[in-house]
Amino acid sequence: MTAGTAALERPAVPRPRLRLRDRFGGLVEVGFRLHAGFVYLFLFLPILVVVVFSFNGTNRNVTEWQGFSLKWYERALSDGSVQAALKNSLLIAAINAVLATAFGTMAALGLQRVRHRLRLVFDALTYISVIVPEIVIALATLILFSLFRDLANPVLATLEGGSGTPFRIGLGYWSIIAAHVLFNTSLVLLLVRARLSGMDRTLVEASYDLFATPWRTFRQITFPQLLPAIVAGFLLSFTFSFDDYVITSFVSGPGSGTLPLYIFGQTRQGVTPLTNAIAAMMLVVTLTILLAGQLFVARQGRRAGTGGASPIGLPTS
């Protein structure tokens, strides 16, 4: 295309978006499309590989396709150690989600009325919890819990006075839950605060003008408006805990191993169709929870008429 025709074309066709009219324009457009295609393939290939090979009827080699079979799912679900790990994972994730949501929401509400200086300290702490790599949080938590255990157990021993069944604190469920809750409280706090800052204050004022008590105002005005963020925080906390490996591996104890720990241990001897089946089931759990949350948030958004962006990151429309 010569400069002359380009100049003639310009006033005739007003374009809403930028068209690159030089010689390589078409090539660049094709390049963009190809690149996007490759990236999406790159992102989904591993997930497809896990799911597809979990249905492999092979007995020896994972990648040697021997026909469709559900036997690895049967084997996974009937395996005692998988069942135990699954139970641990679900229990820990559920308790963590409840606690983190409660703490995070309370903190977000409390921060509204807190003095400016204290809020700065809080923001700085949130910043630290973001900038410190997860593994450092994990090992610091391990140190704290071990210290706590070493201090608490002699006290417990003297309290019992040698009689009855000895009760001792060790690393296990409670340490995993506590560490997960620390991580997720910041997450819920950020989500609920974002929602709070976008909230219509006039509704709360109107509620007070109509002689509603603070509790009633919270229940009928504030809470329904915060609900999408709270639900999103709950679900994200659940999936974080359900999928977490790094923190859990540091603070877990005997008998409290979760599914990610089990899978990691198994892959030391190489990937098997069994681990693929467990992984595929974990993917289904996580994605179901997030999609359910997404639908809920979208519906709430429509009902409230706000329609705002979903905190999970999926667009609501």
Partner: protein, 271 residues
């Protein structure tokens, strides 16, 4: 409010303070920690800096690779996708919210001797093994952290006023000049946010090298894991953790300072 502040205090401030205290201690006879005051743990860190250097160059390389892959895609979604924009974003989010561990393990199969490595060996006749090499780790890293780079870039590109690009073109600027003088200054904040979001977890990365590095490539995360869970030398591990936090604070602060400074001068040149 109160429960959360206690939570922060007891599970963030106190543990990090304990790490600093432990870093001056000595290893107990059965592992763990014995109170002492020694700088030996720190001198060991500086005598054997290899894992730190590996982590540093891999994090920088990983961040740059993420930028190079993420930018054209974010640009494509923001300016070319039209009505499919929502769908394309959802498709980015789905893999991101699935288990990190599972996504990494999947690459064991793909890069393994019956996957890409096998294919390359067969076609070239050479014995190519990708697993256990830094390349495999870089692939795993880019795969896992790419969305963290795409999202902030997409958000800034979305806000990009297209009339500015038209204006630049009408004023006779070429593609490169428009990119450098109009697009880049506008997407700068997204680029910085994205690279910090990617760089921070990369410096502490432990799962990807443990799985795709087959235990042969040591990053700080792996050394920390060994110190704390295998050899149980907690003071040595604590010293490394303190050095890691110091590196993070210095590098991130420097990065923010340097990029802001660069931005100011660029603003002037645009004017």
């Amino acid at each position: 409010m109160l429960p959360a502040s206690f939570w922060y205090l007891f599970l963030l401030v106190v543990p990090l303070a304990l790490v600093v205290v432990y870093s001056f201690g000595e290893r107990g006879t059965l592992g763990g920690y014995t109170p002492a005051f020694t700088l030996d743990n720190y001198s060991t860190v500086f005598e054997r800096p290899a894992p730190f250097l590996t982590s540093l160059w891999m994090s920088i390389a990983g961040t740059i690779l993420c930028m190079l892959v993420a930018f054209p895609l974010a640009y494509f979604i923001a300016s070319r996708a039209g009505r499919r924009k929502g769908l394309l974003i959802v498709l980015l989010v789905i893999p991101f919210w699935t288990s990190f561990l599972i996504r990494t393990i999947a690459w064991l199969l793909i890069l393994g001797p019956r996957g890409v490595s096998g294919f390359l060996s067969d076609t070239t006749g050479l014995d190519i093994r990708l697993l256990g090499t830094p390349l495999a780790i870089l692939i795993g890293i880019v795969y896992n952290y790419l969305p963290l780079m795409i999202f902030p870039l997409y958000v800034t590109l979305e806000r990009l006023d297209r009339t500015l690009l038209e204006a630049s073109k009408d004023l006779g600027a070429g593609r490169w000049a428009t990119f450098r003088q109009v697009t880049l200054p506008i997407i700068w904040p997204g680029l910085i946010t994205g690279s910090i979001l990617v760089f921070i977890p990369l410096m502490g990365e432990y799962v990807v090298p443990a799985i795709l590095g087959l235990g042969r490539v040591f990053l700080i995360g792996n050394v920390l894991q060994l110190d704390f869970l295998s050899s149980r030398d907690w003071p040595a591990g604590s010293a490394k953790a303190v050095v890691l936090i110091a590196i993070m604070l210095v590098s991130v602060s420097f990065y923010v300072w340097a990029t802001n400074r660069g931005r100011r001068t660029r603003d002037v040149s645009v004017l």
